[in-house]
């Protein structure tokens, strides 16, 4: 107990003294996670929308595959992307292995099914009358799509925030594709694992506090937006 209290106190000291190593790790984590969430959202929201509204053969199958991919383990993605990006790999000549870009690629693969699948759910729940109303009022296909996405915005936002939460807390991809290089690809989770292995808990605890604070912040943001949109409904 004494050990934990001491670690917490020292971690708090590190946070308040604006320790550059600590904050650089936080910066790498946030920038990589935000970039992968952005890329996954740009791809996943339209994909989810078209799966939800489209009438095509095999739609059930596509949704089942998406839902299965939600359980994709990070180490499997890590191995798969490693095989592609390693020197002997298909994309080895890009020289991306052990760079933040490699982590982004892996994380996008991880959360793309999350964003797409939750967008499918959010859009499918939207009343069919919204589509008809937009169309009868003269909206073209894209304007109609935008009207539906706007009505489903809260569910879609929830999907994006959940996806961000997933990537910021994952370790497998960051470790296997980033390589945990100090000052370059070391993220909060990989640093915590390293510090734990070294038996040095202060930095790990400080990063744990930051990680939880980020999670809390994201949830507060979601609640605030929910409240605001709740007013609209």
């Amino acid at each position: 107990m004494d050990f934990l209290t001491k670690s917490l106190a020292e971690a708090a000291g590190m946070l308040f003294s604006l320790d550059p190593e600590l904050y650089f790790i936080v910066y790498v984590s946030l920038s990589v996670s935000l970039m992968s969430t952005l890329v996954a959202s740009v791809m996943g929201i339209p994909l989810g929308f078209f799966i939800a509204v489209g009438q095509f053969w095999g739609k059930r199958g596509v949704i089942t595959v998406l839902n299965t991919l939600l359980a994709l383990p990070t180490v499997v993605i890590g191995l798969f992307v490693y095989a592609l990006l390693s020197r002997q790999g298909l994309l080895g000549h890009w020289g991306l292995l052990y760079t933040p870009a490699a982590i982004v690629i892996g994380q996008v693969i991880l959360i793309l099914p999350w964003v797409a699948s939750f967008t499918v759910s959010a859009v499918s729940r939207i009343d069919e009358r919204y589509r008809r109303t937009a169309m009868t009022l003269g909206a073209g296909p894209f304007q109609t799509a935008f009207a539906i996405i706007r009505e489903a915005r809260f569910g879609i936002l929830g999907a994006v925030i959940a996806a961000f939460g997933r990537v910021i807390a994952e370790i497998g991809i960051a470790m296997m594709l980033g390589g945990n290089i100090k000052g370059f690809t070391r993220t909060m989770t990989t640093a915590m694992a390293l510090e734990h292995n070294k038996g040095e808990f202060v930095l790990a605890v400080a990063l744990g506090i930051v990680l939880l604070t980020v999670s809390l912040g994201m949830n507060i943001l979601l609640q605030v937006l929910q409240g605001r949109y709740g007013e609209d409904r």
Partner: protein, 224 residues
């Protein structure tokens, strides 16, 4: 002039034939009532006339030209026809933004949008409701805002699916007044469905009876 001409028009949902009309013509600038019991095909017919749903078979002509059910060909026609649903749904924003929606998608300038929307809200007696959240309106108010939203698009054809169903007496009277005024102005063709034959007589110049998806010729002949 003939507004709509339907020939051999059918609509099936799986095994169920919801609509089967051998021939029907609707004239321009008249108010026409669609009567019939539940499940007679009134809503299905209105959705086809609003160009929101293609028929399973047959042809629909709009002002003498057959409708081609391809998205790029439908949009210009849809901008002439507006349907107000039986239970209209409001976008989750303010009343004024709902009413300006049709103008916005047509690229109307912001200041003109607001002016037209306010005029339309005034027509339905809800000018004071402009800044209210549309989801908080009562059923009758929602129906009136939906009519204002449709009128803002300046449609050539206004389709109303049971506009007074589930609406209190006061709002019913207001909706009937709006339809009467629009009919007398003769600027647009109006087609509405109703269960109420008295309302149909009061508001419409022509009545069409539907029964099990087809035109009930016996009643229609007796009428004429």
């Amino acid at each position: 002039m003939t507004l709509y001409e339907l020939s051999g028009l059918q609509k099936c949902f799986g095994e169920v034939k919801a609509l089967d009309i051998a021939h029907l013509e609707l004239s321009e600038n008249t108010a026409c009532a669609l009567l019939g019991p539940n499940g007679s095909g009134k809503t299905t017919l209105l959705h086809i006339l609003a160009l929101l749903m293609p028929p399973s078979a047959g042809t629909l002509c709009f002002r003498g030209k057959p409708v081609i059910w391809r998205e790029n060909r439908l949009l210009p026609l849809r901008r002439k026809v507006v349907l107000v649903e039986q239970h209209p749904i409001m976008f989750s924003t303010t009343v004024i933004k709902n009413v300006t929606y049709g103008l916005k998608v047509r690229g109307t300038h912001r200041s003109a949008r607001k002016r037209i929307a306010m005029e339309c809200l005034d027509r339905v007696g809800l000018a004071d409701f402009a800044d209210r959240r549309a989801h908080r309106l009562s059923g009758g108010e929602t129906q009136r805002v939906a009519i204002a939203r449709a009128l803002a698009c300046k449609p050539e054809v206004l389709l109303l699916d049971e506009p007074t169903a589930g609406v209190d007496t006061e709002n019913q009277a207001v909706v009937e007044q709006i339809i009467t005024r629009l009919r007398d102005e003769k600027n647009m063709s109006i087609l509405f469905s109703t269960h109420n034959p008295f309302q149909a007589k009061r508001l419409a110049q022509k009545q069409i009876y539907l029964h099990r998806g087809g035109i009930d010729t016996r009643i229609n002949e007796r009428q004429s």
